[in-house]
């Protein structure tokens, strides 16, 4: 046992991080591919259709077929586009969407830190919000640099929508930070040992869920893409692999938001009903998966918001509610200090 520990300690830090990053990247990309199939299947079943079932058993090879299709499509650049920014924009979206997974802890770290997260940053939540905010540039620049009107409208909407909803989202999360007393994602999960933050922060949780949908441009807040009115919005002009990158980024953001909801409000890898014999990683994946399912369920159920109502809702309902939640939490923590 001692020998094994020595061996582990002998491995250089950069190698551990490299291996962990590789594993996380692989898992996340696979999850992306299958969350796409997952979404198509669930949507189909909710609409009384069988869904993709031609490629492989139960359509399980569909993601591979889609990937091959994407790769062989022609990569178009419109004459009116700004070539450099046009080509750069999908990468901004994708890199920021992937970078977030560097700080997301998936399970309790064991032993010498081989498991858990790639890096436990003490300002993890700030890192996540900083990166996702940069991700918006990908969408805005893509729309602007396409040099055509629908993408421009899409990116203008994206900018306005993101500013309105990011504010409420951050405010709703601050309540959790006050309760946990830390900005480290691991620390936040540890603070939920006894009770999940979804119970004291129920208002914050509801605001977070709504704003998270708006942040990731998903129905019913998908005005940025809005196929029926903007023909795809910011990615109208994109095709082939570059379109695929936006697609990956969107789904990775979905997964990120689900993971964050799990970490901040649903107790991370803490077991429910004392079922501790099930590993924490399974708990984490189950909770994030349930959140993803809810996301898709939402998409099949609700029609798209009208743009002015979206802004109204963001500023006149969510923002005051998030502020109220923040003030209430602060007052309660200040005047009834528990044994924390």
């Amino acid at each position: 046992m001692q020998a094994a520990a020595d061996l582990i300690n002998a491995v250089p830090f950069w190698l551990i991080v490299l291996v962990k990053s590789g594993i996380v990247l692989l898992v996340v990309i696979t999850t992306f591919a299958y969350s796409m199939l997952f979404e198509r299947k669930i949507m189909a079943w909710m609409q009384l259709r069988p869904g993709p079932n031609r490629v492989g058993p139960w359509g399980l090879m569909q993601p591979a077929a889609d990937a091959v299709k994407m790769m062989f499509k022609e990569d178009l650049t419109p004459n009116t586009a700004d070539p450099l920014i046009y080509k750069l924009a999908p990468f901004i979206s994708l890199i920021t969407a992937m970078g977030v997974f560097a700080v997301i802890p998936f399970a309790e770290p064991t032993g010498t830190g081989f498991f858990g997260a790639i890096g436990d940053v003490n300002a993890g939540i700030l890192f996540v919000f900083a990166l996702t905010s940069i991700g918006i540039y990908g969408i805005s620049l893509a729309g602007w640099s396409s040099g055509s009107k629908f993408p421009l409208l899409g990116s203008v909407r994206a900018t306005a929508q993101m500013i309105s909803y990011e504010l409420s989202m951050t405010l709703s999360v601050i309540g959790v930070l006050i309760l946990a007393g830390t900005t480290s994602l691991m620390g936040i999960v540890h603070a939920q040992d006894r009770v999940w933050f979804v119970i004291p922060q129920i208002l914050g949780f509801i605001i977070y869920v709504i704003t998270a949908v708006a942040e990731t441009n998903r129905a019913p807040f998908d005005l940025v893409e809005a196929e029926t009115e903007l023909v795809g919005g910011f990615h109208t002009e994109y095709s082939g692999l570059r379109f695929g990158l936006f697609f990956i980024a969107e789904y990775l953001n979905m997964i990120t938001v689900s993971c964050l909801a799990t970490l901040l409000f649903l107790g991370g890898w803490n077991a429910l009903f004392g079922l501790t014999f099930i590993p924490g990683l399974i708990w984490f994946l189950a909770k994030a998966g349930a959140f993803l399912f809810f996301y898709i369920w939402l998409r099949t159920t609700l029609p798209r918001f009208r743009y002015d109502r979206l802004m109204d809702f963001g500023w006149k309902v969510l923002f005051p509610a998030a502020t109220l939640n923040l003030v209430l939490t602060a007052v309660v923590v200040a005047f009834w200090p528990t044994n924390g």
Binding site: I42, W45, M46, Q47, L48, R49, P50, N53, W297, T300, T301, L302, R309, D312, F313, V317
Partner: protein, 198 residues
């Protein structure tokens, strides 16, 4: 706007509806692998029948061509001779062509035929890549000599049904391979109809 935003009951109603549909049996018939059984009197591809002794029923009278509202049928008759006998009577169809792209599958040719020679079968899969391939001549219309007399015209097992629609609905929705009855699903939906439609 306020009223709509805070109508949480409607929200839950919607969520419940989509979630319950998640578990329903799907009415999709997976066409190439599962085929729908059509009504017995479905109007599909034409067929020229024969008599039991192998002779053609068609006498080249061109009544079908005259009856055809789409001018899809071309018939050119010729005289039978003792050496070259095609049909029992005096004449036969030397050339019989139906342009299936013009045909509207109304079945008037079938009704006009005095010898029950031309009938519409339930076969419907005739897709092709060339327009010319849709002009069906005798080589494809006529029943092969070793395949009997062909489809009986207008088969009604129990006489003329009082409600034609009911019979066809019953027959056409049973999926042969799985035995799945789509009308049962329709009945269920009708009974449990909710929301706007109700």
């Amino acid at each position: 706007m306020r009223k709509n935003l805070f109508n949480v009951g409607a929200l839950f109603h919607g969520f419940r509806t989509t979630f319950s549909y998640f578990f329903y049996k799907k009415p999709t018939i997976e066409y190439p692998s599962v085929k729908k059984q059509h009504a017995p009197r479905f109007h599909g591809l034409h067929e020229l029948r024969r008599y039991g002794d192998g002779k053609e029923r068609c006498i080249g009278c061109e009544l079908c061509a005259i009856a055809c509202p789409a001018n899809a049928i071309t018939v050119i008759g010729a005289e039978n001779t003792p050496e070259d006998r095609h049909s029992p009577g005096e004449r036969y169809a030397a050339k019989y062509e139906i342009d299936e792209l013009r045909c509207i599958f109304c079945g008037l040719c079938e009704e006009a035929c005095p010898t029950d020679a031309i009938v519409l079968t339930p076969r419907f899969e005739m897709a092709d890549y060339r327009r010319g391939a849709f002009v069906y001549a005798k080589d494809r219309l006529l029943v092969a000599p070793d395949e009997g007399v062909g489809q009986a015209p207008d088969e009604r097992p129990n006489g003329i049904p009082s409600d034609l629609g009911m019979v066809s609905e019953k027959k056409s929705t049973v999926d042969v391979a799985t035995g799945y009855d789509a009308t049962a699903r329709g009945k269920y939906l009708k009974e449990h109809r909710r929301g706007l439609a109700g």
